[in-house]
Amino acid sequence: MSWETVIGLEVHVQLATKTKIFSGASTAFGAEPNTQACAIDLAMPGTLPVLNKQAVHYAVMFGLAIDAEIGKESAFERKNYFYPDLPKGYQTTQLEKPIVGRGNVEIERADGSKKIVRIHHAHLEEDAGKSLHEGNFRHGVSGIDLNRAGTPLIEIVSEPDMSNAEEAIAFAKKLHSIVTSIGICDGEMSQGSMRFDVNVSVRPTGTKELGTRTETKNLNSFKFMEEAISKEVERQIDLIEDGGTVVQETRLYNGDTKVARSMRSKEEANDYRYFPCPDLLPVIVTDETIEELRRNLPELPDARQARFVEQYGLSDYDAAVLGSDAAMSAYFETTTEKSGNAKLAANWTMGELAARLNNEAISITNSPVSAEQLGGLIARVADNSISGKMAKEVFDGIWAGEGSADDIIEARGLKQVSDSGALEQMVAEVLAANQAMVDDYINTDEAKRKKKLGGFMGQIMKASKGQANPQQVNQILAKKLSELL
């Protein structure tokens, strides 16, 4: 029997507000545990939440980006459960009236075909803190870090519109691209800024009824997501084909060990006892606010990719790679402006720079080589001041913090010699010093002479310490040798 897969995603996106959703504490990542948790985040008695307006605006911006209905009057509920990293004993979230209603996200498959994934809704809520259990805390003791508690999130819930891991990843990447492009999320997956819960079920090909689904929670990389989906699809099909049935459950996937396990079954699921939060008023978003946010909405990734093709003459592929990522797009555009050469800027950004950042696991926003610096380097390549090979050396120097391309070229004496008088003299000297090679060249059949040129080139570059402009040397050499024939 053949099977088809049905996938839906729930995506938690941390909003890039400076302060938390209900308190004035900072949301910055990486501080000492519990130094960014105020009395409200700690759920001290008598404290009350005050909604962060910026978080509301960010959620509305997301709604506008996916062409969704905006909840003009949304409301918060309390979701009750006990856990040490949930200080109030309930999470303040939205259930009945979310801020973002139905919308659409278009994804592109590898073959270039397109598909719409429907968004059921997106709602605002607060993040929990972190529990540090044995292994990453002290033996036999669990630690609680409430720095993250109260960080604003939107939870985006898709319809089960994806049919395989590839589509799910394309959807996840598209969301990443959208939220970073409109600036509502920093997109730092490794810091948990986006986390994916994947609902997977299988059914015999061609049937309509959905199979029993499982939910694999908290995946924070596209790679882990792909692995978890593939393994889960395989597990479900094997289970059914062996006569078993899929149990509705919540699962966890460990990206390091590549092992998935059941966390809790439906029977063990909490009764969250949602009810309206009496400490918060309904959230009213006026038409005026919506229109203002729409007017100021930053460029969306699809529009930007089209513009890159149009404005810079990039290929569709290059435009897609650069244009899908907000930080990379900004980097590329600055590099282009500084260098005046879009094609080289695209090559360097996607090539040397991306590879180096990737190797050292540094995000482009923290790149040791700034866009201005790379632009300066490319400008020297474009005007033939340095060769491509030297450019890599200069790039390394910039990376190491030695300054601008011009500083390094100057300091290391890398400037290419392009003065034709000097080059003609240099070629003449090399030819005179290597009469045997010249004789050999003359005596070789015309068809094979071209191969002999490399030898002269090597001698000339050696004599110039690599600074001779190779194209010019080539021309001069060819001219001088032909005169000898």
Partner: protein, 485 residues
Amino acid sequence: MHNLTIAELVRGLKSNQFSSVELTQHFLDRIAKLNPGFNAVITVTADQALKAAAAADERLAAGNAPDLCGVPILHKDIFCTKGVRTSCGSKMLDNFVPPYNATVVENFEQAGAVVLGKTNMDEFAMGSSNETSFYGSVQNPWSTDCVPGGSSGGSAAAVAARLAPGATATDTGGSIRQPAALCGITGIKPTYGRVSRWGMIAFASSLDQAGPMARSAEDCALLLSCMASFDEKDSTCIDREVPDYSSSLNNSVKGLKIGVPKEYFSEGLNPGTEKAVRTALAELEAQGAELIEISLPNSGLSVPAYYVIAPAEASANLSRFDGVKYGYRCEDPKDLQDLYTRTRAEGFGEEVQRRILIGTYCLSAGYYDAYYGKAQQARQLIQQDFTAAFEKVDVIMGPTCPSPAFKFGSKGDDPVAMYLEDIYTIATNLAGLPGMSVPCGMVDDKPVGLQIIGNYFDEARMLNVAHQYQQVTGWHDQAPEGVDS
């Protein structure tokens, strides 16, 4: 000095008849001498009080001090006081010292009022007799084998016993008005949103409202003018100018339309109480007010609706007391479940546990619509009754509670009998309306309260009517035997 009203104390301090230090010492001495017999005050802050009094004397000497500068008061132990234990009457918070002040506490501090200490209360404000306090019950100064009412029983008894000229209190279903009635003092629960709830430990967030207790309406006006403020830290607080409640006290009641709901004079009302209330109404009629019989047809829904909504909200509000962050923690928990279970079983008293269970049940899957949903509908009907009534009348009057103070333990085995204590007061909390209790007679040598219910933000008129009544009657000037020494 302890028989002077707050208005008289303000004049005495400003005209230098006595200093705040003298006044404060006088009340501290009275607390030391008399409180052991009443158990009304559970924390005395003598050193801080005397320091504050000295500072107040300096402000008074400098001139331009606010009205309440140098006036001693007590705070109900539900208000967080920076550096001073705030127990909420519970073992759970017996060790809790807040690092912040409630806005109410802050407002009095700014005005230069002197805090003598914190008053006893029903645990987490859940009770109508002050018998549920972890610190033991409070004796009614009028009859020490009787309860003072609750949950603000400590504040009411302290004011009646002249341990302080005024005190703060809170009212979720009658917790200001019922103890005020039972202790023969004056208390007002303002409109929901008039006084900030920041730093006031939550019982039922949509019903809780703080207000003052004193011996007269004139004194309540002085206290409320200071207590009420708009506070951005409480999202349910309403941004509306606070009137000077003292300025309208002397308006005439001529032509005032007083609604008398027939449902408040039905079965279960003590005949002596009814007589006292009717006599009070006749007195106001004699002053030129008009009595109009009205109907609040959905009154019968108040108690059932309240005992769904209040416990539901409480069940979530009290989840934060889990032994993890502050407050009571059980000894040697063997795991997380054990920590939660024993901390909450040992830290909460019986009535609090009962209400958490009721609330949890009402919000459970499958029961939500039948209980919480229906209760919210009932709440709307009750509100509509009042809206309709206030189209015809200016204020509504009736008894505060069905009978005078009852004996300790007399309702202990029957929670429902205890819940019926609040049968006349609960509706105003559900509607968010202001309510007040004024002494209006004696039955079996125990005080009886007249309840005044006003329209939204009509506290000035209520205080005016109460003051006019107190100009021609002397019930509020009576002192229990033995406290006047």
